[in-house]
Amino acid sequence: MKLNKGLFWGLIILIPMTFPHLGCKKFLDRKPLTATIEDLNKGALDGQVLNLYTILRTNAGFSTLPWVDFHSIRDDDAQKGSDANDGKEVNTEFETFQYTKDDWAINSYWGDHYTMINQANSAIYAAKTSSITDEASLRNVGEACFFMAYAYFDLVKNFGEVPLINFPILKPTDAIQPKATIPRIYEFIDSNLKVAAQYLPLTTQAYGSNYPGRLTKGAANALWAQTYLMRSDWGKVTALCNEVIGSGQYKLMDNFSDIWREDPSGAGKNCPESIFEMNAWMPANSVGNSNLDYGTDWGTCQQIRKNGAPVGWNLGWGWNTPTDNLVNAWSDTDPRKGKTILFSGQSDGGPANGGHGATIPAYTNPDGNGGLAQKYWNKKLYTGNPPAMRTFTGFLGTTDGNGGARWINHRIIRYADVILMLAEAANESNNGAVAAANLEKIRNRASGNLGPTRTVLPVIPFTTQAAMRQAIKDERRFEFALEGYRFYDLVRWNDAVSTLSGLGYTNRCRFYPIPQQTINLSGGVLKQNPEW
């Protein structure tokens, strides 16, 4: 049949229009225009492990207020701080022990810990499925196991029985697990730290020259010792502490304040006393620049809060401050007191005492009208906030947006803790001489290394186990004030009821209730902590 005129013209016009996209397959194959995990090497094992450090630094449950709420302000020596109008619910929940099952602090603390656990599981799974044997990848496995143990130790201390997830979650329903017993969780922690201690290197040099603060065998052993201390397993504590000490990698800093120093060159971070630090950094002029923000709220949340003070004092949120109870209990003769507590209205003590030569604005009232809202502040964190860092980063404290100290590392495990753990384990194992000798290391350093004849913080010789026990308890209280040890120490010493009952503490408060969201998510599989 002859084509008619219309059809002919139509084809002339339309055929050229139909040429694009005839190759449909190609037209439909579209991958993201940015990298996916498939584009990375080896299931991104190293990348996934590095992400564990990111989680530690950026997730609130490890790096800011929720961690501070759980670990520090629950004790008798630290309090919420800030001002009377800020975070009132935290007063109720953590200062007066009216724990709540549904709040930002509890929800993010729980969720962030399981985020770390799931990321660690995913990394270990990637290592297993690609059957790696090279040293670098085995180190990665060691790192993942360390973080797994770190997260579970926090959980078992705070909640007691929790679900044990030791496999990668491939289906959402996999995550619904009942609680495991406390011994089972410690068993899992032990198995992870065993692997970590085996594969982690003695020094960070093994990773290369630019990895200060990356995980070491010492960190694994020190954490392991902490977990045995919580279980009062003195033999294991002694053995692990001796291994850390015997490695010769760590020493006490001469000046107590030097532990917390920060500097534009990065000096002060990961000092010889540091066994495990959460590392953070803000490069030059990085204020307000999210692309250059490698920081954390850890430092910001514990700096002076401006309220009605003059411009330039907006350093942070003002949380985790000393209580009157701590100030009154602590002798002024202990040089650590002036290096731990910053007093409103007074000089900051200058560089020798962890200050910067400034005078702190005066305290006025809990509202902070016309001045500061707290009498005392956390000086350990203030030490890390020198004017040089403020100028360098641009966190000048003059307006809302540029107040903060996001570069400060969290000193998580210090060598001093290893010494005092050894002292305590020795004393409980009836080895008074070792206990006294190790206690003396800490007291002598605290005095400014004045030696055995000093009158400041004098030597405490061993007399009785009970006296030595009290001396070690006191030493831990002051050495680690505001660092997040005391609440758990009081619990394991069975001193919590006597010390904290005035604040509302009862025995069930040693464990926090599991967040309601999580209970709901489990559809009845996960049961609430029976005491709550």
């Binding site: 219309g6 059809l7 013209w9 139509g10 016009i13 339309l14 229009m17 139909t18 694009p20 037209f27 439909l28 194959d29 579209r30 991958k31 940015t34 990298a35 995990i37 498939e38 990375l40 590095l50 992400n51 990111t54 630094r57 009377a84 800020d86 975070g87 009132k88 007063n91 109720t92 709540t100 099952k101 549904d102 709040d103 929800n107 969720g111 985020t115 799931n118 979650i169 959402p172 619904i176 200060p212 603060g213 590392n279 953070a280 950094w281 002029n285 307000g288 620049n289 250059l292 923000d293 401006k306 009208n369 016309g370 809202a373 003059t398 307006t399 540029n402 709901n520 998510l521 559809g523």
Partner: protein
């Protein structure tokens, strides 16, 4: 205003020049008989032969089908013969002869049929607004004598005598009969047909007569939207269409929240917009004045053809095309103003002082009776008044259209200026619409459409109303004059400075909004350009076939540059100014979208005896790409550094003042594409029984290759009962059609629960910002954003409807009623498992059902030629129920929580409507410790005391009723944001030149979740809401409003205290217009002149305490009153001129 007007004028001039070019394309008709014909027919009826000639020439034949000789069969072979010769051969053996009229029309008549010609009648036929109508058929009643009008609407006809009656008809107009009664000059104005059943409606990939369809399509005339003060035309549809829910937004230009026949998904719920064929997700670039009609497609038989985008319903827009006739110029302008009508109630200064003193005295942890120090805080500011104003609305449009036999064009230009009621909030739009269709020959048409817009987006003031209500009234809203150092230089000068806040009391999250609004409103340049165009070729061939190929492009760019200036605030307590903004900064954000679509559609239309068939097949592809780049730079630091000047010359990232070390840049980009084939058949038997069927296969780049293709289909049937013999004698029904359809529709949704799209559901991106730090060394870490699901597919909606359409009482009453049922299957759910420390994952599973009834009715009556009345009403009953949810969701429910750790919770849970509000039931207030002791223990949800809420004990952990404890198990479903029914009505009265329309709209039975004044953040001290005056402050003082106290977090749990009734009834529009009589305006050479006044949102009867009663949102969280969204009353006056 100078600038835009000027550039408008320039544009008009340029386009006029362009248009002149098109006029010259008009081809003048060639003399009769010059066309050459080739014919080879054997024993063909003369009628058929004439049709063949019609196919080859521009001539058309007009004859009476009853003529005997037209059925004569002839055989004929001619080659390249002139038409006159061919016609002589055709009619050689018959009694027929012909007469050539204007417009290439040839009238065929029987010899001797026409009596001796006595009279020549001349006349003019006009349509709507006095515009001349071309191509109108004019016949002498009872004969085959007739003609059609020319381009000027004129006709001339020889009639047997001056007493005949003329029958005047044209498609789309009511037929009229005019008795000459001796006249030889007539002038007839045709009236647009209002018979809904005869409407031509847009369906996917074509159009059809509504009578031939089995589905539910509602057509709204462009006139309904063009004289309303809404820059977004969809806003004007509120209350007009059954099954269409429109929840408006008070910000100028913002899209309303639209849902068609319920909330069918937990992801994407917005309808698909199809503008002259191109798929779109909004119509922000369209001028309401350029819209010819809007069709709402709701049922499966209309929607299946849209495949993976059809399930949420379709709003099809047809822009204006030239009507046949001479050049018509239409100018309209409207001016108006907007006012805030329903203010929220807040404490004034003395009330604030009383309440705050009481709160301090009752404080849990730090009670004090020391009076708060209000030094310097002496004002009594109404902060809502301080930030709002009367906004102005202005719209100006001109359109030119014209057509000739070969060419049709339409040009529209518009300028809109729309101010919000919040200070400095203003939207400006310039809009262009241009279309042209050129007939290459009888078979081929080429055409293009172009819509272009330039839009100046308003300074983002959406936060202002919420900020304003937070500031304590003691802070002054008035600027104060200080002598200060010029922040940009070394000199000093007097400056008017706004107050900062009392930072001791109001700091984080509370700001004086005037500081930002007044200092920064003009420091942002936010301009969007959009060009949407298409080119098509349309070919008719082999008699019954038509092929149309269209390529579309939608290219747009949004560039936003924002400058942060230096400015002061003063401390209200010390009266000392301080630099509030001390660092100049430029942020630039550049977004480009490219969307391409191509459609190839083949149509076949034929009748086989009583069988009528229209079949369609098509192939279409779609591509979407978005590229975003953004960056910022700030000034150098140090004492000698210069700020970036307050001059838009420098508002770029590289401005010469920037600190290179502080510059940042980021980008994000994504693409997707689909390839589809489609088919449809519209069939009817004797115009009595109708069958519609459609099918579409979509392949999408967003799904893994193995499951890339998905199919959608629908079938529909209808029965026009009035065509049956047994109905022929029915006096009641003029028209009655029963109809029903069933189909499976698709919804391409891949998003997080809040609707944020996941562009590559199968390939998760790595999260940005994952870095490990060691010392000062930074290493990139790998963190996937979510877990991919290889089994993913699009969710489907199984839908059916059944209903009827009827006309009765001489077509005065039209009723349409439908029952619909839509069940969404395989809901695509982003399972969130953060509480388990897990990443999110998209899964399929779960089902939602939406069902209900829609009834609409209209009554039109002409009481006399001067008075006519029309009544319209519609009502939609809608039920929504979640049947199941994905098994992978650990909780079994989807929860969306906002404010105060998610206290404002909406739950999507099986057995309940989507997005139901969830919380405690307030039984009252604990009046005393004795009452607390006598009540179930509530300590598990927080500390509490007298003055706090007494929540109802309804359940325990076993789910078996009250257990004597108030725990989280006592939360329940406390409200449903979806109305039980929505309704709209309008009344229209025309009396002589006056016309009055009143539109009403209402919803009933939904709830609103109020978050302000009840769920404040523990970190923020905000002003008290008005209801706190009646708070509990001692035994017996209140049993509903709790004690004031930010420490009493117990009361900050979501509860029935937050729930308000969302029912309302609104006078949506009242419009009074006057059309001047033709006689009066013809001396000014006008064909139409209309003046009108319009009032929108004149009055709303409502029961809630917010600024408005309309709160949109996303699929699973909507109906939240967050102290914003004020919808103003708008009064406009307009003028419409046609010449």
């Amino acid at each position: 205003m100078q600038k835009p007007l000027h550039s408008n004028l320039l544009l008009v001039m340029k386009l006029t020049a362009l248009l002149t070019l098109f006029f010259t394309l008009n081809v003048s008709a060639t003399g009769f008989g010059q066309d050459r014909i080739n014919l080879r027919v054997k024993k063909t009826e003369i009628g058929g032969v004439l049709r063949s000639i019609e196919d080859q020439t521009n001539y058309r034949f007009l004859y009476n089908n009853e003529l005997q000789d037209i059925r004569e069969k002839i055989s004929l072979t001619v080659n390249n013969a002139p038409l006159s010769e061919v016609l002589s051969l055709v009619f050689f053996k018959t009694k027929l002869s012909y007469q050539v009229m204007d417009n290439n029309l040839i009238i065929i008549k029987e010899d001797g049929e026409i009596a001796p010609v006595d009279v020549t009648v001349r006349g003019k036929i006009t349509g709507e607004g006095g515009a001349p109508l071309a191509g109108v058929s004019v016949l002498v009643k009872g004969t085959s004598i007739g003609t059609t009008t020319n381009n000027d609407g004129n006709f001339s006809l020889n009639v047997p005598n001056a007493d005949v009656t003329l029958v005047i008809s044209s498609v789309g107009y009511d037929q009229q009969e005019v008795a000459l009664n001796g006249r030889s000059e007539v002038s007839v104005a045709l009236v647009t047909s209002t018979k809904l059943i005869d409407q031509v409606v847009v369906i996917g990939y074509g159009q059809a007569n509504k009578r031939d369809l089995t589905g539910s399509i509602v057509k709204i005339s462009g006139k309904e939207v063009q004289d309303k003060p809404n820059t977004n035309p969809v806003a004007s549809l509120q209350g007009k269409v059954a099954g269409l829910s429109v929840v408006n937004n008070g910000t100028p230009g913002k899209s309303p929240d639209i849902r068609i026949r319920g909330t069918v998904s937990i992801g994407q719920v917005n309808p698909l917009y199809v503008v002259d064929g191109i798929f779109n997700d909004n119509i922000d670039y369209l001028n309401p004045n350029d819209i010819e009609s809007i069709e709402i497609l709701k049922d499966p038989s209309s929607l299946a053809i849209f495949g993976v985008k059809g399930a949420t319903g379709v709003i099809a827009i047809t822009t204006k095309r030239a009507k046949v006739g001479q050049v018509v110029v239409n100018v309209n302008t409207a001016y108006g103003f907007k006012k805030l009508t329903d203010k929220i109630k807040l404490a004034n200064a003395s009330e604030f002082a009383t309440l705050f003193a009481e709160e301090r005295a009752f404080d849990l942890s730090n009670p004090t009776t020391t009076p708060y120090d209000y030094t310097g805080l002496t004002a009594n500011t109404d902060w809502i008044d301080a930030v709002t104003r009367v906004g102005h609305f202005n719209s100006n449009n001109i359109s030119v259209s014209g057509s000739t036999e070969k060419n049709k064009y339409n040009l529209g230009l518009g300028f809109l200026s729309d101010e919000g009621i919040i200070k400095h909030e203003k939207l400006q739009k310039w809009l262009l619409a241009f279309s042209d269709e050129f007939k290459l020959n009888k078979a081929i048409k080429l055409g293009f459409n172009l819509n272009a817009s330039r839009q100046h987006n308003p300074y983002d003031a959406t936060f202002v109303l919420d900020d304003a209500r937070k500031v304590m009234p003691q802070v002054s809203a008035q600027p104060k004059r200080f002598f200060v150092k010029n922040p940009y230089g070394a000199d000093s000068l007097n400056m008017d400075i706004y107050s900062g806040l009392d930072v001791g009391l109001q700091s984080s999250g509370v700001v004086n909004p005037l500081l930002y609004v007044e200092n920064e409103w003009d420091k942002v340049i936010n301009i969007e350009y959009r060009t949407v165009g298409s080119f098509y070729a349309d070919v008719s061939f082999l008699k019954h076939f038509n092929f149309r190929g269209t390529v579309y492009a939608d290219v747009s760019n949004l560039n936003k540059r924002q400058y942060t200036p230096l400015y002061y605030a003063y401390n209200p307590k010390t009266d000392v100014p301080y630099i509030y903004s001390n660092n100049t900064k430029v942020v630039e954000d550049d977004n480009t979208w490219r969307k391409f679509q191509q459609d190839y559609v083949l149509n076949y239309k034929n009748s086989f005896g009583d069988h009528n068939l229209t079949a369609t097949a098509g192939f279409t592809t779609y591509y979407f790409g978005n590229w975003n780049r953004n960056g910022q730079s700030s000034q150098q630091s140090g004492p000698t550094a210069l700020p970036i000047p307050d001059n838009d010359r420098f508002w770029y990232i590289n401005n010469g003042f920037q600190d290179n070390s502080k510059m940042t840049s980021n980008s994000s980009q994504s693409e997707y594409s689909t390839v589809s084939v489609l088919a449809r058949a519209l069939y009817n038997f004797k115009g009595k029984y109708y069958l519609n069927a459609s099918f579409r296969d979509d392949a999408s780049s967003r799904l893994p290759a193995v499951s890339r293709h998905q199919q959608f289909w629908a079938v529909g049937a209808a029965w026009e009962m009035t065509k049956e013999e047994f109905m022929q004698n029915s006096k009641f029904f003029d028209y009655l059609k029963l109809k029903g359809s069933y189909g499976v529709l698709g919804n391409q949704t891949a998003s997080t629960l809040d609707g944020t799209p996941l562009n590559y559901p199968f390939y998760p991106n790595l999260s940005g910002g994952a870095n490990a730090v060691f010392g000062t060394n930074i290493y990139t870490a790998a963190n996937t954003a979510y877990i991919p699901n290889p089994d993913l597919k699009w969710e489907t909606v199984e839908a059916w409807e059944a209903g009827f359409e009827a006309n009765a009482f001489q077509n005065r009453l039209h009723v349409e009623a439908n029952y619909f049922n839509r069940t969404t299957k395989d809901l695509m759910t982003n399972v969130q498992r953060g509480a388990l420390g897990l990443k999110d994952k998209l899964v399929n599973g779960g089902s939602i059902r939406n069902w209900g009834e829609e009834i609409s009715a209209s009554w039109n009556q002409n009481f006399s030629s001067d008075l006519s009345v029309s009544l319209n009403g519609n009502i939609t009953f809608l039920k929504n129920k979640v049947l199941t949810l994905a098994e992978d969701i650990p909780t079994g429910v989807l929860s969306r929580g906002f404010f105060n750790n998610g206290s404002a919770e909406s739950r999507t849970a099986p057995g309940h409507p989507i997005g139901s509000f969830y919380g405690y039931i307030v039984e009252g207030i604990y009046q005393s410790y004795a009452e607390i002791l006598a009540s179930p223990v509530a300590s598990s949800i927080g500390a509490y005391r007298p003055g706090d809420f007494k929540f109802k004990d309804i359940n325990g952990p076993d789910g078996k009723g009250p257990d004597g404890q108030i725990t989280t198990d006592d939360r329940t479903f406390i409200g449903n944001p979806t109305p039980d029914f929505t309704y709209g009505a309008s009344v229209g009265v025309n009396y002589k030149g006056f016309n009055l329309t009143v539109d009403m709209v209402g919803v009933y039975g939904n709830e609103i979740f109020r978050t302000w004044g009840s769920l404040e953040s523990p970190f923020q001290r905000v002003n008290y809401s008005g209801d706190k005056i009646n708070r509990w402050h001692g035994e017996g003082t209140s049993n509903w409003v709790p004690i004031v106290g930010q420490g009493d977090r117990f009361n900050y749990n979501g509860s029935t205290y937050n729930i308000e009734d969302g029912s309302y009834f609104r006078l949506r529009n009242i419009q009074l217009g006057y059309n001047f009589g033709r006689q009066m305006i013809s001396k000014w050479k006008l064909t139409n002149l209309r003046l009108f006044a319009n009032m929108q949102n004149l009055k709303t009867w409502k029961n809630n305490s917010g600024y408005t009663v309309e709160y949109g949102g996303d699929a699973t969280a909507f109906g939240y009153d967050n102290a914003g969204g004020a919808i103003p009353m708008v009064t406009t006056f307009g003028l419409n001129v046609t010449f």
